[in-house]
Amino acid sequence: MSSPTTAPTVPDATARNWASDKLFLGMSFWEYAKSLATPGNFLAGLIMAIGLPLLAYRFIFGLGAATNLSQTNPWGIWIGFDLLSGVALAAGGYTLATSVYIFGLEKYHAVVRPAVLTGFLGYLFAVLGLAADLGRPWNLPVPIVYSFGGPSVMFEIAWCVVLYLTVLFMEFLPPIFEWLGWPKARLWAVRMTIGLTVFGVMLSTLHQSSLGALFLMAPTKLHPLWYSPFIPAYFFISSIAAGLSMVIVESALSHRAFQHRADHHTDVDGIALGLARGASIVLFAYFFVKLQGIADGGRWALLSTPYGYWFLVEMLGFILLPSMLFAYGARHSHVRLVRWTAAWTVLGIVVNRLNVSVIAMNWNVPDRYIPSFMEVWISITLVTLGVSTFRWIVNRMPVLKAHPEYPESSSH
C-alpha cells in the first residue's frame, strides 16, 4: 500500500507543488488518495489492519500470550523466518554491488539499485521482526554502546547488522538525492560507492556466516544432519545463491508490476540468464560442501530415518535440483524456467533456515514448537510492510530506471 508517510498541510503553492511532485506522483493530495483504492492496496491494508494490533497485543501482554514459544523452544519463526531467512534473501545487495562495482560486470548494472533497495528493506524488516521477538528490544543499544559480549557470535552479528544497515542506506543515497534534486550531495554519495561496496562485502561475509555459527552452540539440540562445524560456510554460500535468486525473482516481478517506472531497454531476460549461471554454480558448490559435512561427520546412517528423508528433500529437491534447472535454463535460454527455479530456490533457503532454527532443533525432545496464528500473521504483516515500502520508493525514486539527468547511473 503506497500510503504517504504524512498528510502534510500545504501552506503555499510551492510546497503544494513539491508534495505533489515528490510524494503524490504528480497528483493533488485528494487525487492521490483516490488512486490508492486498488485491490492490492486493499489486501495490504487488510493484512496490516489485523497485523499491527496483533503487534501491539504482543507488546502489551508479552511473548507468552502472542507466541507458542516455550522454555524448551525459545526461538520460533520470528527468528527462523523473519530474521534468518530475511537476512539471507537480502544478500542480493552485496552480491550484485560486488559483481558490478568490483568485478566490473556492467551487464548487471541495471539491477544493482533494486537489489540494494531489496537488501536494505530486507534487513530493516528483519530487524523489526527481531524487535518483536526480543523481550526487551529497547535494550538493543546496550551491546553497541557499553556492555560488550566480546566472545559472543551474537555480538558480532549485532555489530555487523547495525553497520551493514547503515552501509545499505548509504549505498541507496544516490537515488534518494536524485529524487530530491540535490546534485552535489549525490556526487558525494556516488564517490563512496567502492568503499561502501568493499565494506559491505566484509560485513556480509562476517554476519551471513555468523548467523549459522549461532547454532554451533547447540550441538546436543540441533539434529546431527544439520549440525556441522561447517555451518557458517553453509550459511554464507547459500546466502549468495539466495541473493542471486531473489534478484531474478524481484526483477521479473518489478519490471512487470512497475512498467511505467521501468527502463524498457533493460535486458531483464539476459540478466536473469546470467545470474542463473552464477546461482547454478553456487548451489552446486553448496551441495558438495553440505555433502562433505555428512561424510566428515559420518552421518550416512541417519539418512534412512524420517529426519534423514526430510534432509534429502532439502539436499536433492531444494539444492541439487535447482542447481541443475538453473544450468539447463541458462544454457537453453529458458527464462521462464530460470524464474520459477529462482522462486523455488528462495523457498529452499527459507526451508533450510527453518530446518536449522526450528524444525531440526530440539528434534529429540517431546515438546515440539508450532507457530501460533499471531506469529504467522505478524510475519506476513512485516513482509507486506516491506513490499509496500518497496513499492512506495520505486514509484518515486529512480530505482528501475536511471534518472533522466543522470543516465549513467544504470549504464556503467
Binding site: 568485478f103 523481550g135 559480549g149 567502492i194 552452540m217
Partner: protein
C-alpha cells in the same frame, strides 16, 4: 587505470575503521581465571539425599519465589520436574526404589559457561569465585542463552510484558557476605557440600576410591562442558541421574572459537583482495576501450 591515491585512502580508511571494532578474544574472557584455586563449588552426594526438599524451600525463600508447589511427596516425585521461573531448583526422584535416589537440579555454574559466551551484552557473566550472575539491566531478551545452555537452565518469563531470564544465582550475594548458598546451608544430611572446588574434588575422590566404595567412579561436572561448579557423585549409573551425558568435556566457548578467529582475517584480507580485483577489472575495461597497443602492454603486465 591504476588504483588512485584517493580511492586507496578511502578503502584503507574503511578497513581501518573496521579493524578498530572492539577486540574480541576467541576464548571466554574468564579462561585464565578457570585455574583460580579460590573457586567455589558444591558437591552433591546423591547417596546421602533423602528427598526432603528443604533446599527447594530455602531457595524459594531466599529468592522470594512463589514456587515450587509443595504438595505431598507422592505427588511431587511421581514425575520428573524441571526448574522454571518460580523455582530455581528442584529435587527429583530418579529411581523408584532400592536404592531410592534423588537428584537436585539447578544451574551448574559452568567454569566456562555457554550462556555467558553466548550473551552479546554480558548480561550473563561468570564471576571469578564461581557464580554465573545475571545483570538484568543489560538483557535484550534474545534468549540465545537458552539455546546455548546444554542443561536447559535459563528460563524466560514469557508471561510478562517486561520479561527477564531467570535462573539459580548460586546465592552470589550471600557468598559475597561470606555465607554459603541457601540450599546448602539447610541440607540436613550432608548431601550438599559447599566449598573450594579443588577440595571438593579431593573429597569426592576419597569417597569414590575408598575400600569397598559403592560409588560409580565418575564425578559428574569435573570435566563435563569443561567443568562445572556443581558436581555430582552417585552409586547408580550416571545416565540415570537425569543430567545430560552427551555434552562432552570441552568448554562450549570453543565451539565458536574458529568462527570468531576468522573475523580479523576477513577484515584484513577482503579489502586488498577486492581492491585488487577492482583495479584489474578497471584496467581490463580501459584496455578494451583503447585498442590493441594497450592490449599488448596489458599482456606483459
Amino acid at each position: 587505470m591504476k588504483l588512485n591515491r584517493r580511492t586507496f585512502f578511502k578503502v584503507a580508511g574503511t578497513a581501518g575503521a573496521a579493524a578498530l571494532a572492539p577486540a574480541r578474544t576467541a576464548s571466554a574472557a574468564t579462561s585464565a581465571e578457570v585455574l583460580d584455586a579460590g573457586r567455589r563449588g558444591v558437591l552433591v552426594d546423591t547417596t546421602k539425599c533423602i528427598g526432603c526438599r528443604a533446599c527447594e524451600a530455602a531457595c524459594s525463600e531466599t529468592n522470594r519465589l512463589s514456587g515450587p508447589a509443595m504438595p505431598d511427596d507422592a505427588a511431587v516425585f511421581g514425575s520428573l520436574r524441571k526448574t522454571d521461573t518460580t523455582s530455581f531448583t528442584v529435587v527429583n526422584r530418579v529411581t523408584p526404589a532400592t536404592p531410592e535416589r534423588f537428584v537436585k537440579q539447578q544451574c551448574m555454574h559452568c567454569l566456562e559457561p555457554a550462556c555467558a559466551s553466548a550473551c552479546l551484552a554480558r548480561a550473563l557473566d561468570k564471576t571469578p569465585m564461581g557464580p554465573v550472575v545475571y545483570h538484568k539491566d543489560r538483557c535484550l531478551g534474545c534468549r540465545y542463552c537458552m539455546v546455548a545452555c546444554p542443561f536447559d537452565v535459563p528460563k524466560y518469563e514469557y508471561d510478562k510484558a517486561l520479561p527477564y531470564v531467570t535462573k539459580c544465582t548460586f546465592c552470589a550475594d550471600r557468598q559475597a557476605k561470606g555465607e554459603s548458598p541457601a540450599c546448602t546451608s539447610v541440607c540436613p544430611t550432608g548431601a550438599l557440600t559447599f566449598g573450594n572446588r579443588n577440595e571438593l574434588l579431593d573429597i569426592a575422590r576419597e569417597r569414590l576410591y575408598a575400600k569397598g566404595s559403592p560409588y560409580v567412579r565418575h564425578i559428574y561436572g569435573e570435566n563435563e562442558v569443561g567443568g562445572t561448579s556443581w558436581m555430582y557423585i552417585t552409586d547408580i549409573p550416571i545416565e540415570k541421574l537425569g543430567l545430560p551425558t552427551d555434552v562432552g568435556s570441552y568448554a562450549y566457548s570453543s565451539l565458536t572459537q574458529a568462527s570468531l578467529a576468522a573475523v580479523p582475517f576477513v577484515l584484513t584480507l577482503w579489502p586488498p583482495l577486492l581492491m585488487g580485483i577492482y583495479s584489474f577489472s578497471k584496467r581490463r575495461d580501459a584496455v578494451a576501450a583503447h585498442g590493441s597497443d594497450t592490449q599488448e602492454e596489458a599482456d606483459h603486465v
